[in-house]
Structures are given as structure tokens and as C-alpha cells.
């Protein structure tokens, strides 16, 4: 099963090395990892999607991560009512005769066209991961040139911040 963890860390050099080093050393399965700045200048928030057999295995991941000196706090968002988003930029082949088809698809998915080239278009879509998977699937017929995705980020709907949880 996949679990989503919000990992709050001190914004110090080497912190990502420590996190990735630990994941590799303990042979944990990580589906995605994203990091970015937060409301606090000295804090970075990492969203980890962990593939674990069960809660016991997940507990190991959490406890081991928690031992890292720069890790301030870990919140398991898997069972918390939360908003989960992934963003993709998809470059698709778009010759003049197929452009209107693609525009239709983009509008059905509430995606955005952010760049147009004589032969290609770049589409931006933000949503849950399966929505992005679905769009990529549909666009395959037109020929996908390349895709980039951010990996999942997640935020609880609760009025309390993870750091104060």
C-alpha cells in the first residue's frame, strides 16, 4: 500500500542527502519525493510517498527518518482528510490537423495549453495522480514527446498546520 508522509526538515545543507541516504540504506521503497520551501524560512517540507507492506513497515520508515537530526516532524497524511496534487507538463505532437482534437481533450480535463510550437504543444495539468495518468493515456495516440511530473504534494484540510499537529 502507498502511504503519504509530510516530512518537515530544517533547511540546512546536506538534509536531502541524509534523507535519500537513509532511504537507500534501509532499502525502503519510495514512489516519489518532493521538496520545497514553506511558510517558515528555515524549514523545508518534503512529501514522501512510501510503498510499504503494512503499518509495521511504515512505522520503521517513520521511526528511522525521525532519528535524522534535521528532521523536525513527520505527519502521516494517508488517512487524514487531505488535498493531494501532482503537476505534469506534457509535450505532445500537435500538427495543424490534430490540434483541435487536442484542444478538446485539454478542455475536458481542465488542463491548460502553456506553449505551442509548429509541431508540438505543451500541456499543463494539476490534479490527483490518476487524473494525470488518464490524460497521458489519452494523449498517447497523438504521440507524447516527453513528460515531466512534480510528484505528489499533500496538505491536510484541518485548520492546524502539520508543524503544530
Amino acid at each position: 500500500m502507498k502511504y503519504t508522509l509530510a516530512v518537515l526538515v530544517e533547511n540546512r545543507p546536506g538534509v536531502l542527502t541524509h534523507i535519500s541516504g537513509l532511504i537507500s540504506r534501509r532499502a525502503f521503497n519510495i514512489e516519489s519525493i518532493t521538496a520545497g520551501s514553506t511558510e517558515e524560512p528555515d524549514m523545508t517540507r518534503i512529501t514522501l510517498v512510501v510503498d510499504a507492506e503494512n503499518e509495521d513497515e511504515l512505522e520503521q520508515v517513520v521511526n528511522q527518518l525521525d532519528k535524522l537530526v534535521y528532521v523536525i516532524k513527520i505527519v502521516n497524511l494517508t488517512k487524514v482528510d487531505s488535498i493531494n496534487r501532482d503537476m505534469a507538463l506534457i509535450k505532445v505532437r500537435a500538427l495543424p490537423e490534430s490540434r483541435s482534437d487536442i484542444v478538446d481533450i485539454v478542455s475536458i480535463f481542465r488542463a491548460k495549453i502553456v506553449d505551442v510550437h509548429p509541431e508540438t504543444m505543451v500541456i499543463e495539468l494539476t490534479g490527483e495522480e490518476d487524473k494525470i495518468d488518464a490524460l497521458s493515456e489519452v494523449l498517447k495516440d497523438h504521440g507524447i514527446v516527453e513528460i515531466v511530473r512534480t510528484g505528489k504534494i499533500a496538505l491536510s484540510r484541518s485548520p492546524v498546520a502539520a508543524k503544530n499537529n
Binding site: E10, G14, H18, L22, S24, D56, N63, L68, V69
Partner: protein, 555 residues
């Protein structure tokens, strides 16, 4: 007062109470060495950086203080790696200070540059590259704090050459502010009550103690618990000395080369109480058949140890100083006389044995002789292999921190340099290093260090003309195909010792053994005994890898 970074570093080491450190200089470390020159801190120059790392580790294990090891950049730093990993696996507090090329040269494949923080991330409790002069003293303060608190461990501070030279004021921080690091002391009282309840109901309880007992310094509290309850005790390799080996309730070591009584007791118990242990695979054997009928209790300071290898029913996370005294204050006397009788019967009927021989020297008898001569009061430092297991089996450990051995990583070459550190930390105690003809060669250059400081370490090399533990496995599990495990041309270790400035004695027959050991103890300064032992002796009993604890061979 304005000073350079190196001088400020040395001053902060003094603030941390450091009066001795182990190291090896080099280009990037010259400013640091210059500051050490008239600092009053004793610097022990080993003959290899690995030796310095193990010596700092041995010092820390013997004294309980933080060990300090310094090196230059690049190869100086990478030579520490095995020593760092050894300390990490056994939770030893050592601060490693490595020099780095100047900040402007980092990342350019400069001469003697290595990314030592990257390399040591998985084998340190914490590490840091100091990037700005103003961070230096804070990083040093944090390193000592992190190394010695909570579950101890090695911390590495990598310092670029220009930061050693940077001018700064010495203002050593008084406190440490780390948002994400809060070592636990007290845990949940209700969990301790659960343990007391489980103990009151148990018919067949057994304690299993590990290195945590020695690290926390709770042997006396633990002994009171045992005197009160009469519960049998087994130990891991790292737990030896935490409870006297000659106590009637001590069943000896558990696991692969554990005693019959210990392995039976754990297999049959209904309550297993692990204290400061990590349920290593050498202890558990086949996990699914480890303590199959038992409620498992786990006392540890590190929450990540709970459920890592063995599923725990009751967890008590906290410092053992807190949890064991809590338990002692509420525990009642369980009625376990039938169980005590059964366990004592196993202990009496199936002790550790070996075939005595009058012609050849049996390696086990060497340990027994040393035990008798020292009355179990020496600090025993081992290398890794058969001799390590025989030391654990046949020496009577009476006090904490008297077995110094690489338990987790199993590092050959650990023994001699660790003995140097232990002897310097405990100058008034008798230190024995037990090694093999394989292990001793992995850091034999440190004989010169021991000789230079005239350290009275007595080293017994159990020489079986090959790699004994490898050969034992080849004999048992690889149809006696002795691949790459024989020293076809032996080394004259007595001559080697003499060449490096120590006394060497060769012991070839059983009759010579006792007098040679006595002579070694009487002789001041370092003595190396090359003891020719039976070549094909097995460490027994043995639970084959992946088998259950009650599937023992021999014994």
C-alpha cells in the same frame, strides 16, 4: 581574543573535556596540527588512519567518554570509513574531525578531495560539512552533544582548510538548539506497569540484555532486579559484562554460538524481556521460530529498534536508567521455581565444552588460562573471528565495559588499535588483546604505536595458520573446499613484534603456554604472543545461519 579556526576548534575540544585524541596529519590538516602543537591535548599518532579511528572507538568504549579522531582530507578521511562504520554499528560515541580541501576547491576534484560527508552519511549518527567560519563552533558543540546523548553514535565534522585559517573570536555556545533532535529520557510509565503485570503472570520469563546495559551504565540496577526476581538472564555479545558471567542466573551468550541453556530458555520461555538489544540476526536465528511462545517486551532508548527485527508486544521506550528503576520499584516476586530448576538443569548438564589435548594448544584453553591469571578482571579487546567467540564463551566478565569487540560490523583489524585506545583511557587496568593470525595482520602496523608509548597491552594471537571462522564454515557448509582461507606462508609474529619495538614470544606447545602468559603479564610494555593452536578447531555449539535456535550443532 582573535584566533584562527583551528585554535578555536582546539579550545572547544578542551571545553568538551578532551585531553587525548587519535589521528594522522596531512596537507589539509596542517593548520589544525599547528594549533595542537602546544595545546596540552595529547595527540596519539597511529600508523594508519584506520588505527586512529578504532583507537578512538576503543577509548570511548572503555571509558564511556566521547572519543576523538582527526585526519586529513581525501585518503585520510576515507581510511576512517571502516572505523566509523564499526562505531556506528555498536553505538559508540566518537567525534571524527576530518579536514577538507579549501571551500573554493570543493567539487573540483582537487588534490586529496573526497566527499566524506556523502560517503559517511549511512554510517554516522550525524555528519556535517562546515561551510562558513561562523558555523564552526556551533557544529563542534552539536557534534559532541549528538554523539553522547540518546543512543550514542559517531558524528563526523568535515572542516575545509580555509576555515581552519579563518580569524574568529572564541565564543563557544553554551547550549545546543536543534529542533529535530530531542533525545528521550523518560518514557511512558504505564508501559512499565504492563511489564510488571506480564511478569507477575509469567511462568517462564527470561531477560535478554545487550550493549544498552553497558552504554547506559545500569548494571547495578539490573543486578538488583535479578536478585529480587530470580529471573534467568542471557546476553548478546555486546551485553557481556553487563551482568556478571559467573552469576548463577547468567546462562551465557544467546544465538549462533550461544549456550544450550540460553538458546533453550529463549525458545521455551513465555515472556522474553529484551533490554538494550536490537535482536540482531546472529542472535535470533530463524526469526519465525525465535521465542515462538513468548510475549516479547522490548526496553530501548531508540524507538526505531522496536519491531525492526522482532515483533514486540510491550515496548518501553526510554533511557534504561529511567525504565529499569521504574520497573524495580513496582515489580513483585514471580513464582517461577519450576522454570528456574529447568533452566539450571540445562546450564549444568550442557555447559560449554571442548576436547582437552595435552600435545596441541587448544584455543579455548588459552582464554581459560588468561581468565584464571587475570581473575576475570582484565579489559578484553578482540578482533573478529573464532577467537572472538571463544573469548566471549570462556572469559568470565565481571564488570561492564570489559569486553571491547566489534559486535555489529565484525571488523577484523579492530582489536589492536582498540586496545591501544582502551589502555590509554584506562592506564591502570590490564588490557589484553585477543586476535588471530588473520585479524592481527589487518592493523599490525599499530604494534609500533603501542611500542612508541610503551603501552602494557598483552596480545595473544591465536595462530591457526589460516582464517579459522571462514574455514569452519567451509568445513561445515562448503564440503571442506578451503578456498582462499589458508596462510600458506606463515608470519613470524614474534619477529614482527620485535621489529616494531615490542616484545614477541612464540608458544608452540601446551606446556609452554602458562609460563609464556605469566611472562607476558610480568613484562612491562607491550608483549605479543604468537600462540600456535589446533588448526581445525570449531567454535561450538553453532546454530547454522537461517536455522532456529534449538537446532544447534555440537555442545
Amino acid at each position: 581574543m582573535l584566533m584562527n579556526g583551528a585554535q578555536a576548534l582546539v579550545k572547544s575540544l578542551k571545553s568538551e573535556g578532551v585531553d587525548i585524541l587519535f589521528g594522522y596529519p596531512g596537507g589539509a590538516a596542517l593548520t589544525l596540527y599547528d594549533a595542537l602543537y602546544d595545546s596540552g591535548i595529547r595527540h596519539i599518532l597511529t600508523r594508519h588512519e584506520q588505527g586512529a579511528a578504532h583507537a578512538a572507538d576503543g577509548f570511548a568504549r572503555a571509558t564511556g567518554k566521547v572519543g576523538v579522531c582527526i585526519s586529513t582530507s581525501g585518503p585520510g578521511a576515507t581510511n576512517l570509513v571502516t572505523g566509523i562504520a564499526t562505531a556506528y554499528m555498536d553505538s559508540v560515541p566518537v567525534v571524527f574531525i576530518t579536514s577538507q580541501v579549501a571551500t573554493g576547491l570543493i567539487g573540483k576534484d582537487s588534490f586529496q578531495e573526497a566527499d566524506i560527508t556523502g560517503i559517511t552519511t549511512p554510517i554516522t549518527k550525524h555528519n556535517v560539512l562546515v561551510k562558513k567560519p561562523q558555523d564552526l563552533l556551533k557544529c563542534v558543540k552539536e557534534a559532541f552533544y549528538i554523539a553522547r546523548t540518546g543512543r550514542p553514535g559517531p558524528v563526523l565534522v568535515d572542516i575545509p582548510k580555509d576555515i581552519f585559517a579563518a580569524k574568529m573570536d572564541f565564543t563557544y555556545p553554551e547550549t545546543v538548539k536543534l529542533k529535530g533532535y530531542k533525545p528521550i529520557f523518560a518514557g511512558e510509565k504505564c508501559k512499565v506497569s504492563l511489564v510488571a503485570d506480564a511478569l507477575a503472570q509469567a511462568k517462564k520469563p527470561v531477560f535478554f540484555i545487550g550493549g544498552g546495559i553497558n552504554i547506559a551504565g545500569v548494571s547495578e540496577e539490573f543486578s538488583r532486579l535479578i536478585e529480587k526476581t530470580g529471573i534467568p538472564v542471557t546476553t548478546s555479545l555486546m551485553g557481556m559484562g553487563g551482568f556478571p558471567s559467573d552469576h548463577r542466573l547468567n546462562l551465557g551468550m544467546l544465538g549462533m554460538h550461544g549456550t544450550y541453556a540460553a538458546n533453550q530458555a529463549v525458545t521455551q520461555c513465555d515472556l522474553l524481556i529484551g533490554v538494550g538489544v536490537r535482536f540482531d540476526d546472529r542472535v535470533t536465528g530463524l526469526v519465525s521460530r525465535f521465542a515462538p511462545n513468548a510475549t516479547v517486551v522490548h526496553f530501548d532508548i531508540d524507538p526505531a529498534e522496536i519491531n525492526k527485527n522482532i515483533k514486540t508486544d510491550i515496548r518501553v521506550v526510554g533511557d534504561l536508567n529511567w525504565s529499569l528503576s521504574q520497573l524495580n520499584s513496582i515489580i513483585t516476586n514471580p513464582d517461577i521455581s519450576d522454570w528456574q530448576c529447568a533452566v539450571m538443569k540445562w546450564k549444568q548438564e550442557r555447559p560449554l565444552t571442548f576436547d582437552e589435548d595435552t600435545r596441541e594448544i587448544k584455543p579455548q584453553s588459552v582464554i581459560q588460562e588468561i581468565d584464571q591469571l587475570t581473575d576475570g578482571n582484565a579489559i578484553m579487546v578482540t578482533d573478529t573471528g573464532q577467537h572472538q567467540m571463544w573469548t566471549a564463551q570462556y572469559y568470565t566478565f565481571k564488570k561492564p565495559r570489559t569486553l571491547i569487540t566489534s559486535g555489529g560490523l565484525g571488523t577484523m583489524g579492530f582489536g589492536l588499535p582498540a586496545a591501544i585506545g582502551a589502555q590509554l583511557g584506562c592506564p591502570d587496568q590490564l588490557v589484553w588483546a585477543i586476535s588471530g593470525d588473520g585479524s592481527i595482520m589487518m592493523n599490525c602496523q599499530e604494534i609500533a604505536t603501542a611500542a612508541e608509548h610503551n603501552l602494557p597491552i598483552k596480545t595473544a594471537i591465536l595462530n591457526n595458520k589460516g582464517l579459522g571462522m571462514v574455514r569452519q564454515w567451509q568445513r561445515m557448509f562448503y564440503q571442506k573446499r578451503y578456498s582462499g582461507s589458508k596462510h600458506e606462508r606463515g608470519t613470524d609474529f614474534a619477529k614482527l613484534a620485535e621489529a616494531l619495538g615490542a616484545k614477541g614470544i612464540t608458544v608452540k606447545s601446551a606446556q609452554e603456554l602458562r609460563p609464556a602468559l605469566e611472562e607476558a603479564i610480568k613484562t612491562p610494555g607491550p608483549v605479543f604472543l604468537d600462540i600456535w593452536v589446533s588448526e581445525d578447531e570449531d567454535v561450538l555449539p553453532m546454530v547454522p545461519a537461517g536455522a532456529a535456535l534449538d537446532e544447534m550443532i555440537g555442545g
